[in-house]
Symmetry: C2
Subunit: 373 residues, 2 copies
Amino acid sequence: MPEDFVVTPWEVKGQIDYDRLVTQFGTERVNPELLERIRRIAGELHPMLRRGIFYSHRDLDQILDEHEKGNGFALYTGRGPSSGIHIGHMLPWFFTKWLQDRFGATLYFQITDDEKFLFKDFDDLDQATKVGYDNILDIIAMGFDAKRTRILIDTEYIHHLYPIAIEAAKRITFSTTQAVFGFTNSNNIGEVFYTSVQAAPAFLPSVLAKKPVRVLIPCGIDQDPHFRIARDVAPKLGFPKPALIHNKLLPSLQGPTGKMSASIPESSIFTKDSLKAAKRKIMDAFTGGRATVEEQRRLGANPYICSIFAFYNYVFEPYDGHLSEVERTCKSGERLCGDCKLELWGKVEAFLKKHHEAREKAKDRIEDFLLRD
Amino acid sequence: MPEDFVVTPWEVKGQIDYDRLVTQFGTERVNPELLERIRRIAGELHPMLRRGIFYSHRDLDQILDEHEKGNGFALYTGRGPSSGIHIGHMLPWFFTKWLQDRFGATLYFQITDDEKFLFKDFDDLDQATKVGYDNILDIIAMGFDAKRTRILIDTEYIHHLYPIAIEAAKRITFSTTQAVFGFTNSNNIGEVFYTSVQAAPAFLPSVLAKKPVRVLIPCGIDQDPHFRIARDVAPKLGFPKPALIHNKLLPSLQGPTGKMSASIPESSIFTKDSLKAAKRKIMDAFTGGRATVEEQRRLGANPYICSIFAFYNYVFEPYDGHLSEVERTCKSGERLCGDCKLELWGKVEAFLKKHHEAREKAKDRIEDFLLRD
């Protein structure tokens, strides 16, 4: 990993060069031909595809082959319990919901309470599990189809995951985890083992169906190292290699090199933010604006370093026409940051109000989504 | 580990110097004062205690304190699934049954199908589990009290073990497994993690009782490294350190440096041996006898290198008086190997007949012993 930025499943820092990651990780770009093929099959392209936010993949073409043959495929994504779920966490969720709707795929959603405990985000395993349950409310609030969504909590579904995990673990050496994750001798043995637990749901649909089922994993590019390992072991276990589609990471509201984290409330919009707090964050966010109104009118602003423009682009402005208009008027100086923030806030506010309500209703629906015995 | 012998949980070779192991492992000898205390409390001493077969311990005195305070303690031992259970495997079982009877303790018996799969004894996890079920028949046939015996199969009880295992794993580094087990970077990550799964039942009684419960682990001295780690992490998890009592390993019927293994049928008596096959093994066993009868009558034989004498001593001759007589007449030349073998065979035959019958009856009793949800 070059010194200027770091992207691992547990650490993202610096300004990420997404082109370089494609080379380093050895993934493929989502190119125009592939996009055209998705559009043809799905009937439309999700904005995150059109805008290159889901920009990299592994074997996505094979998933489409499988779909066209009528064999179907499963979706798998996950979340480590976090005391606050923010918009950045949700990028793969928005996109996965679209995939579920358009392709009719069953989604396996892993809650990695064990991971978050082992990697020291929580001192207390029970607390990690409890927070996982709280995060499930946000997942259900996304509107996933209860009939085709199976949420599994690692420590509560381990009975089914462990036999698959040890099949994988038997084929993964400590050396591999050093090379792929940068582990050292001072990593704890739970951390060392963990990647095999994250691999397990990639094979679970095949185990449950007792026949090979292709799996597509939409996830942040930072999670790719886990699945590189899972793909290596898949043929040795007699399972198809999981395919992936990777998103770029949503920048922090504090600017392009800021870290987005539950421990930095100002870094993003969190699903449990009050409307007042969320509005304040938007209004205080880092932009590409100039020092003075006069200067901005004269020279224009820079949307490409602006966290507000990123929020429009990644999530809150589905219409490309209007997004272009925001971009153009920003650069020309016609648009001032205060107005632009207020406009974004209108969209964020609508989202939050709807999400808060859906989250409340989700409390009665957890059992409809949980995969138990 | 000195070059002349090796003792790890997965490899035992060479002629073991048990005195040196006490020093190397840092355990304590079961000394005469401790034996006297056990005799006072239990009302008798098991032959394996009197004869120094269970010869080393950690904190056994504290277990006796606990018992005398009326707090009780739990027993924990285990078995990796093996295509054949032999008398050597059963040493801790005989002794554990005595402890259960004399102290009224609940026994947790772990079947480590995951271990045997990860460490490559089985290519197929299902096969390891299936063999584990077969081994359970031998355990039940020992006559353990169904009301106070809980057999748990790792892959089937993992739901309860995994949360405890990751608590332990979080406090164990890869370095520790290098130092304790001699692991290298080419060990698989399941092997690396596994010791935390073997630690879990040492803490399970406390978890189930929701209060600290002392645990005594009778086991072969080769298993001590696992529990050295478990003892190190115990206080960090708020559990009492497990206590141990270690046995010397039964020599092979092929002589003191022979390896006893399910893959070498002649090396021991297996519970599923036919009477005919077992008798042949006894009659063909390595002894301390002389080249000719004449020489043996004149010079006497050597019981201390004799596998037949070891079988008397370790398991099949409960009466010290008669054991001394065997020893004396062996050394004096009054006793010849053929007669001595036939006498032992009488005892082994009686044991096998009873065990075969009990094993058959055990088939209907598995569920009475299994710890499930």
